[in-house]
Symmetry: C2
Subunit: 243 residues, 2 copies
Amino acid sequence: MPRFFVPRVELGENFLVLTGENAAHARVLRLKNGDAVTVCDGEGEEWHCVVSDVAPGQVSLVVQEHTAAKSEAAVFCSVYMAFAKADKFEHVIQKATELGAAELVAFPSARCVSRPDERSLAKKLERWQKIAASAAEQSGRGRIPQVLALPSYEAALQRAAQAELAVCFYENEEQRTFRAAIESAPFRTAALLTGPEGGLERSEVEQAQRVGLQICTLGSRILRCETAPLCALSALMYAAGEF
Amino acid sequence: MPRFFVPRVELGENFLVLTGENAAHARVLRLKNGDAVTVCDGEGEEWHCVVSDVAPGQVSLVVQEHTAAKSEAAVFCSVYMAFAKADKFEHVIQKATELGAAELVAFPSARCVSRPDERSLAKKLERWQKIAASAAEQSGRGRIPQVLALPSYEAALQRAAQAELAVCFYENEEQRTFRAAIESAPFRTAALLTGPEGGLERSEVEQAQRVGLQICTLGSRILRCETAPLCALSALMYAAGEF
């Protein structure tokens, strides 16, 4: 079923109107009176509607049902990934959105080769947020994940540590499994933190541990920096009973 | 530690020699006497060695220890993915190799847009196998996953059904979870089957069920055809106690 994200402030309770890009998209889909569509506020609620009128630049809808989005995970999961080369973070934004992440957070760490300056970062953030919105639409999400960039590794740790389950994955950790962390206590919020191409430095991992993150392995194989967060997120969603 | 794949027939018990591409790669890495390297037969065994001589086109090694590869998963997992557009299968080969898959199997299904002919398939298979070998080397695998292409959907089902855990993922399945399938019985071999861009047809899913595959959901979000197999594989490895 077609899915449109409309800002909360533009949403009524019984009647809705699609305008601008949404109306253009509706036209591409050749929507006509009587067709069923879903409208989301991007914050976890959705409106199941039927098209009542199609005019140039404006599609009118009648609300049939207003519910919490059924496709949102019960766990609020934030994916923290160190700045990576090329389009790796964009790849992770798209896939993590499909997999149910609530937030994507980029940050610098010692071995990051890519370190966008402030100006290019502002542009990138705009682009990243669009990728999240598009992936949310295609995967049927009720929430558009927020994409953030933090100025320092320490800022990332401080923020991640606030989650009820906060994990830093380290390739040299051999003992502590992700399962042990997941099963250690119930949680409603999770933060999964992974390093850049060259990995995190040992001192950075120790710093994460001091701030309160659990240091875990993702198994005995070396995962690329864009594979690790998606592997961890998939496992978390499985463990949380999503599928 | 550098890792080289050498065909079983070229391997001795106490002394090994790297030649050809492996010797060239050793040169790029500037290996010198005394450096530690790992040699794998690509079939699950590895030799921990020390460099004893470096000559043009030939690097001699002394074996210190010969063991089963520590990075191989206990579960033998085959990933079955319908032919997809562009380089999606190549992406899945690389990532699934990192994640521990033992086999990658491509097959046609009703809604496949991409259907390589026999000649282009032979070329593609060669390329696919190289991607698997390269990803195995980088991720520290002891086994190079085999990449196969089957001529029909039915052939894929018949082969997949031989695994102790055989699952077909379907976006319209709402009841049966992957967890229910995983926990229904112990297994040492697994087959995870996913559809092409447009998904599997209902009749194809019914056919899979008749042949003995379990039909499962991967959650309430629609995953792209290249995301689904990696999500399922990550969850399987987690469930099997890999991390």
